[in-house]
């Protein structure tokens, strides 16, 4: 009865490896173009949120499960990693992994009660669950989580470096993680698992009829996405040296949802573009912090109403048009629309 | 052609999205007259009715009601003029009770005052509905649903009654009683009727005139007897019926 969204780029064409590699290289050079500790720090935070948003988009956009409790996994990864560093003297590198495992466990736990639910009920339950996780962290009086004040002074990474280089090292580390996560999601989305998830998203009845187990796949999608979110949480804790319950709740969730949706739900470039754009808006309004959320809210509504498929998709269309226009200039005969076809046409032209 | 036309459809084209279904349709329903629209399945009869009663925008042409332009007005505004459309497939409100469904037929301000009397009249016509007045519409049988749909349409005094295939999917006995009611309304000569019907026997029973719609165009209009003799109509339309 509910129509499923069919986000764009839901069917992943062969990743244009060279273009992606060039973009990554360009991104890796950014800290040199922009040699300030503060500026690089903003970019690190942006990349950490990109990891989180990629994980969220995997379950929300690709698997089509209305999970609005992703921040619980992020927080559990962050707190879990932090606590292990403090109490078990775990090296920060391992804490990242531990955060991922914590996120996975919680994600599976959260997935189980949603198995019999549809659409909006899933979002209600997961959203409520995340709120409860936040309350539990905040109301903890045993001193484990540090309550509302947060979990302080976790030993960080790259402490031996001077601040600028430490931040740059962080930037490259998180950039590498973003690249790995993107690649993993792209591969997953094209794998039989990804196909199964998208089938279940677009038609659960058809998927089950073809023998795809909807429950097992949902748990798996949660687990994968929970792992990445947990890693993002641990990254956040280690990078900032602390974490507090304010990473969760309505306000942060609003920001991440804005990032994912304006970028384009269900695509890989969507969360990347969206996170960058929202960070840019936030930085532009840095002198008027009170107006940030108002502006973001208005932008979110405007994008949903006027650019329903997200910025990344529209940008892709513009790019296609430019490519077509360039082809016309070179008077390449218009080939078939498929990428393979275009390739052949290009060869003929040279 | 009747001198005092109540409904005039002039050069109307309409469709869904990019596809035009009805092209340049012309028809007139006189005051108190019953016009029957016939034509093969899927050629746009329901689409034309939806355009006339404001559910669908026109892409060309005009519709006049009592001399006044009504195209461009929304369906919910046209009810005030006394246009009642009983759609194909009943379109009941599945989770409202039978009585609430009927009451919705009296929604326009003028009719709401007299809803009690109107309800009694409908129950007098369909005594079975009175027993089922508290039952949700979704649980009714097909025949009962049709009774509710027609009853809902008669909850106020229409000047123009638009009925889309009232016999669809009903057993012959019930079809008979449905047509008795339509014939009753037609005989009063106070309400004009625009009726879509596939079964020519019933068309001859109630229609003053018949229009044939084919491939989205009105290809003929005439008396029922003329059309029954028309070889072209018999072939294109009646010939399509399994006999």
């Amino acid at each position: 009865m509910t129509r499923r969204p069919t986000p764009l780029q839901a069917t992943f064409s062969k990743p244009k490896v060279t273009i992606s590699a060039a973009l990554v290289l360009l991104a890796a050079l950014v800290p040199f173009i922009y040699p300030s500790t503060y500026g690089t720090g903003v970019l690190v935070t942006m990349l950490i949120f990109t990891v989180l948003n990629l994980s969220w988009n995997f379950v929300l956009g690709i698997a089509g499960v209305w999970n609005f409790g992703q921040l619980a996994m992020f927080a559990v990864g962050g707190y879990g990693g932090g606590l292990l560093i403090i109490h078990a003297s775990l090296p920060p590198w391992l804490a990242l992994l531990a955060g991922g495992i914590g996120g996975t466990l919680l994600a599976v736990l959260l997935a189980l009660p949603t198995l019999r639910l549809f659409g909006i009920y899933t979002s209600l339950l997961t959203f409520a669950a995340a709120q409860v996780v936040q309350l539990v962290i905040q109301n903890d009086s045993s001193g484990t989580t540090g309550g509302a004040l947060g979990l302080p002074t976790v030993k960080g990474l790259f402490e031996s470096l001077d601040p600028l280089w430490a931040t740059r090292a962080w930037y490259w580390l998180v950039l590498a993680i973003v690249v790995v996560v993107c690649a993993a999601i792209a591969l997953l989305a094209r794998s039989p698992l990804g196909l199964a998830l998208r089938t279940l998203r677009d038609s659960a009845a058809y998927g089950s009829a073809r023998g795809i187990d909807p429950r097992g796949h949902r748990v798996l999608a949660f687990a994968i996405s929970g792992f990445v979110a947990g890693v993002a949480g641990a990254l956040y804790t280690v990078y900032n040296g602390s974490i507090s319950p304010t990473v969760m709740g309505l306000t942060p969730m609003s920001i991440y949802v804005t990032m994912i949706v304006i970028g384009g739900l269900g695509s890989i470039t969507g969360p990347i573009v969206g996170t960058a754009l929202v960070t840019a808006i936030q930085q532009a309004l840095i002198d008027h912090p009170g107006t940030q959320l108002t502006v973001l809210g208005v932008v979110l509504i405007a994008i949903v109403v006027f650019v329903p498929r997200g910025i990344a998709f529209e940008a892709g269309r513009v790019r296609d048009r430019v490519v077509r226009w360039m082809n016309e200039e070179e008077e390449v005969p218009a080939g078939p629309a498929s990428p393979e076809g275009r390739l052949v046409a290009g060869r003929e032209g040279t | 052609m009747p001198a005092d036309a109540l409904l005039e459809v002039r050069g109307v084209s309409c469709g869904y999205g990019e596809t035009t279904i009805v092209r340049n349709a012309e028809l007139t329903v006189g005051a108190g007259e019953t016009l029957c629209l016939v034509g093969p399945n899927g050629h746009g009869k329901s689409t034309l009715l939806r355009a006339i009663t404001g559910l669908l925008p026109l892409s060309a042409g005009e519709v006049r009601f009592g001399g006044e332009r009504i195209d461009g007005r929304a369906a919910e505004q046209l009810t005030e003029l006394g246009i009642v459309h009983i759609p194909q497939g009943d379109h009941l409100f599945p989770d409202l009770t039978v009585e609430e469904n009927l009451l919705m037929g009296a929604f326009p301000k003028g009719a709401w005052k007299d809803r009690g009397t109107a309800l009694d009249e409908v129950f007098a016509r369909f005594p079975k509905l009175k027993d089922r007045r508290r039952q949700r519409a979704r649980t009714l049988s097909g025949g009962e649903r049709r009774m509710v749909a027609i009853g809902r349409g008669l909850m106020r005094q229409p000047r123009l009654l638009v009925i889309d295939e009232p016999s669809l999917g009903l057993a012959p006995v019930i079809v008979e009683s449905v047509y008795e009611i339509i014939a009753g309304v037609a005989a009063q000569r106070t309400t004009s009727i625009l009726l879509v019907e596939e079964n020519f026997t019933h068309v001859e029973e109630v229609a003053d005139r018949v229009s044939v719609l084919e491939m989205g165009r009105i290809v003929r209009t005439g008396l029922p007897a003329e059309l029954a003799d028309d070889a072209a109509v018999t072939q294109s339309y009646l010939g399509a019926l399994p006999s």
């Binding site: 009865m1 509910t2 129509r3 969204p5 069919t6 209305w66 009660p113 019999r116 639910l117 549809f118 659409g119 909006i120 009920y121 979002s123 209600l124 339950l125 409520a128 409860v132 309350l135 539990v136 109301n139 009086s141 709740g249 309505l250 609003s254 949802v257 804005t258 949706v261 009170g290 107006t291 940030q292 959320l293 108002t294 973001l296 809210g297 208005v298 979110l300 509504i301 949903v304 109403v305 | 009663t53 404001g54 559910l55 929304a74 369906a75 919910e76 009810t79 005030e80 009642v84 759609p87 379109h91 409100f93 989770d95 409202l96 609430e100 009451l103 919705m104 929604f107 326009p108 709401w112």
Partner: protein, 295 residues
């Protein structure tokens, strides 16, 4: 004995307030298929209107209730026009999910504007009426609670009657079930949708005044009521009015009992556990119909 009595007293008060918020939520979902995340903000705005009228202007609490009703009504209408109406009938998008997000964005804007205008500090709002009846040992029943419960019940009953008996009430339900047929009956759908959201928001606004007199007015005052309203509507079955009202009191009872016997801190987590159980046993809530039945 006094434990039980005080649990009952809080159950009735909490249940009535939750009932009001959840009523609007379930109404909007039932009619528009929108899970309106801005309902929490309406509670918050209602609280601030209460504060402005009673504390700032020093006027009567009754005026505060009326003003909160009017202000949140207007805001609800605006929310519908801006964030829901343009999405109706759009192809290729999941309406429920996308309106969940847009109403969420409205909530974001409203809370943030409140923060800008009123600052983060909690604001005290006086009681509607003072005094109390002594019941038993340390338990007493404030007049304020009686008044709030009475108003809440009256509003809920009024709404139930409105929806079941009145011309517009039946029409509102009809619109949700068959849009085209409702138009053919003459129901002005362009007016009905904003009206529904206006009324639903207005009752949330009144609940906001009540909550502010119990606690404070603050920019985040709507967050917890939103969460509880979500739990209530899951529990009651989305779209079911009776379900929402019954569930509101049930949730009030669970929360009151958990606060007395365990601790206030754990009341919500316990509540959540109960909800998970309910959903495992009855995925459509206690009064919701199964998805198949709705097709």
């Amino acid at each position: 004995m006094s434990d039980i009595l005080s649990i009952l007293v809080s159950t009735v008060v909490l249940g009535s307030i939750y009932g009001l918020v959840a009523l609007g939520m379930t109404l909007i979902y039932g009619i528009l298929r929108v899970l309106d995340m801005s309902q929490g903000s309406m509670v918050m705005v209602g609280g601030f209107v209460g504060w402005a009228v009673m504390t700032s202007a020093g006027l009567s609490p009754w005026l505060a209730i009326v003003a909160a009703f009017a202000a949140t009504f207007a805001l609800g209408v605006l929310t519908q026009v801006v964030s829901v109406q343009p999405l109706i009938g759009r192809r290729g998008t999941d309406f429920e999910m996308i309106t969940f997000i847009t109403t969420f964005a409205v909530a974001m804007v409203l809370s943030n504007l409140a923060l800008q205008f009123f600052g983060p500090r909690q604001k005290n709002v006086p009681e509607l009426v003072g005094g109390s009846i002594h019941l038993y040992e340390s338990v007493s029943l404030p007049y304020q609670s009686i008044v709030m419960t009475a108003i809440a019940l009256a509003l809920m009953l009024g709404f139930a009657l409105f929806l079941n008996r009145s011309r517009y009430g039946i029409a509102i339900r009809a619109v949700a079930q068959d849009l085209d047929a409702a138009r053919l009956m003459g129901v002005p759908i362009k007016r009905v949708f904003p009206l529904v959201m206006g009324f639903a928001s207005a009752i949330a606004g009144v609940a906001g005044v009540f909550l502010a007199t119990q606690y404070f007015a603050s920019p985040t005052a709507g967050d917890q009521p939103l969460l509880i309203a979500l739990i209530v509507v899951i529990f009651g079955g989305l779209g079911s009015l009776q379900g929402a009202i019954v569930a509101a009191y049930a949730i009030g009872l669970i929360q009151a009992a958990a606060s007395v016997y365990v601790s206030t801190t754990w009341a919500l987590p316990i509540l959540y556990g109960v909800i998970v159980l309910v959903l495992i046993i009855r995925p459509q809530g206690i009064a919701g119909r199964s998805l198949e039945a709705r097709l």
